[in-house]
């Protein structure tokens, strides 16, 4: 009876387009509660739905005129694009989690007791006056200045490194997404 399936599919190719409902009435990865009656009956799980899906039956029948039919090809392409969307969502959520984790770690990590933050409210001139007029420890070999300079250098490196890693990750993710879109276009 399989050689007759292309005839049946042909009935759904009209003058004003192709009706895909013969293969799948909703074109989703899995059935929703109120839609996609395909393969729904008592005690029917989603894995059964996938096994009984016309596309898997067509694959099992392995008969060239059926799986080469336009209706089947379009359905497979659409399903593949659905998978691309899923992958894109996965990557996007991974990226969001990464950003949240990084920010929270940066915010929650303790600042050292003596840091350049302590002097952030002073101008340079005020700081110089403060250092000179320190009665207890008047500018002992420019330790604070050196510290400020050092901290600045170190933090600039950290800042640059963070930007660099973010750039690399985003670059690779866009590469993956781009690749998926090219594959879906040319298959």
């Amino acid at each position: 009876m399989i050689p007759l399936v292309p005839l049946l599919l042909e009935q759904f190719v009209g003058e004003d387009g192709i009706d895909l409902s013969i293969i799948d009435d909703c074109l989703r990865a899995r059935p929703a509660a109120n839609r996609c009656v395909f393969g729904r009956s008592k005690g029917f799980s989603t894995s059964n739905w996938l096994k009984q899906h016309p596309l898997s039956l067509i694959a099992a029948a392995n008969y060239a005129p059926v799986y080469d039919h336009d209706v089947v090809k379009i359905c497979v392409d659409l399903k593949f694009q659905l998978f691309g969307n899923f992958l894109y969502l996965l990557i996007l959520s991974a990226q969001i989690i990464y950003v949240f984790l990084y920010t929270s770690v940066a915010l929650a990590s303790p600042t050292p007791t003596q840091s350049y933050y302590d002097t952030s409210n002073y101008t340079c001139k005020q700081l110089c006056h403060l250092l000179i007029s320190d009665s207890r420890d008047p500018l002992p070999g420019n330790v604070v200045l050196r510290k400020i300079d050092m901290e600045f250098q170190r933090n600039r490196e950290i800042y640059l490194f963070r930007n660099f890693t973010v750039f690399i990750i985003v670059f690779f993710m866009f590469g993956i997404v781009e690749r998926i879109f090219t594959i879906t276009k040319f298959t």
């Binding site: 009876m1 007759l4 399936v5 049946l8 009706d19 013969i22 393969g39 039956l57």
Partner: protein
């Protein structure tokens, strides 16, 4: 349409005997068209008889007319206490010739309503056959149904002694 003692109408007997001429004569009567509904003739009894008795030319005559086709796709045949349409019934009986006739009807472009109901007929989601666990649409039935010839060939291949004795 009066029935005889066996519950058969003249129309059903004509189908049983395979008399296409007689059927054409009955259906072409203008008086009948005016006074009797087409569904009095094209009903589950007559279609079931046509499929059971392998009357291919009669069924191709039935689907050749739009009003008859509209009646055919509404027919529900009761088999083993399950209700099937004619397509599902002929798939169940493993009669590919009838399946071919039912799925390859060409409907004119202006008959949109009929085309819609015909498509619904082709993808009718219905109860499983007795051997299967899941409800199915015709395409699923066709893809899972092993044809009679193939199964006989396989039996002949694996158990030749049964056939040769």
């Amino acid at each position: 349409m009066e029935k005889n003692v066996n519950g058969k109408t003249p129309f059903v007997i004509a189908i049983e005997k395979g008399s296409l001429k007689c059927i054409k004569y009955i259906l072409s009567s203008k008086w009948l068209h005016r006074n009797v509904d087409i569904e009095e003739f094209i009903n589950s009894d007559s279609l079931k008889t046509t499929i059971d008795k392998d009357q291919l030319d009669i069924v191709s005559f039935f689907v050749s007319d739009i009003s008859r086709l509209a009646a055919i796709i509404r027919i529900k045949i009761n088999a083993n206490d399950r209700i099937y349409n004619v397509l599902e019934y002929s798939i169940a009986l493993k009669k590919p010739d009838f399946v071919r006739i039912f799925i390859s009807v060409r409907i004119p472009g202006d008959e949109r309503e009929l085309y819609r109901s015909y498509k619904y007929f082709l993808k009718h989601y219905n109860l499983a056959y007795s051997g299967s666990n899941y409800d199915q649409t015709p395409i699923q039935r066709m893809l899972t149904m092993v044809t009679k010839e193939l199964s006989i060939r396989m039996k002949l291949f694996f158990f030749p002694s049964v056939f040769l004795d």
